[in-house]
């Protein structure tokens, strides 16, 4: 299993649009064969900051995900909303 934390910040006026795009992405991504979990969070102290926490069976599942129409569609539509680069890291669970 590989876990991903992807943090992003959006322009304040685009928060609602990002939320909709993100929740649509979550719903479809959860149906992918290699997905274990896929969740979306709003940072409490900053309403323009959000985080995805995802769990995938392996790197192949992640590679497949990144080639899906829904992921690429999200990237195309959400890209202009971001206020800067995403902070993405992959993890092995130790506990």
């Amino acid at each position: 299993m590989i876990s991903i934390i992807a943090k992003c910040q959006v322009k304040p006026e685009t928060v609602n649009e990002l939320k909709k795009l993100a929740l649509d992405l979550v719903a479809v991504s959860r149906k992918e064969e290699g997905n274990i979990s896929y969740n979306f969070y709003a940072e409490i102290s900053d309403s323009s900051r959000f985080t995805f926490i995802e769990e995938w069976k392996d790197q192949e599942a992640i590679d497949i995900h990144m080639k899906t129409a829904h992921f690429q569609d999200f990237g195309a539509k959400a890209g202009p909303l971001f206020a800067g680069p995403l902070d993405i890291a992959l993890y092995n669970k130790l506990s």
Copy 2:
């Protein structure tokens, strides 16, 4: 429910010590009445970076956690191992 992501970086020579302290903290913290989940991760691309992902019933549960002997003991022992300040954020789950 409140989720917490706490990212840290340790001095390379202290990685094993941090892992032990962190896994001990996870085991005890999971038994707290207000805890929903508590997990510890190693960043794949950097062996000195780690992340906790925690879920708590509410802010009161977090406040209680931070006053526990096991949390304060972790802070005292792990503090000197960190290579810089932790990156901690609290979240509401939207998905």
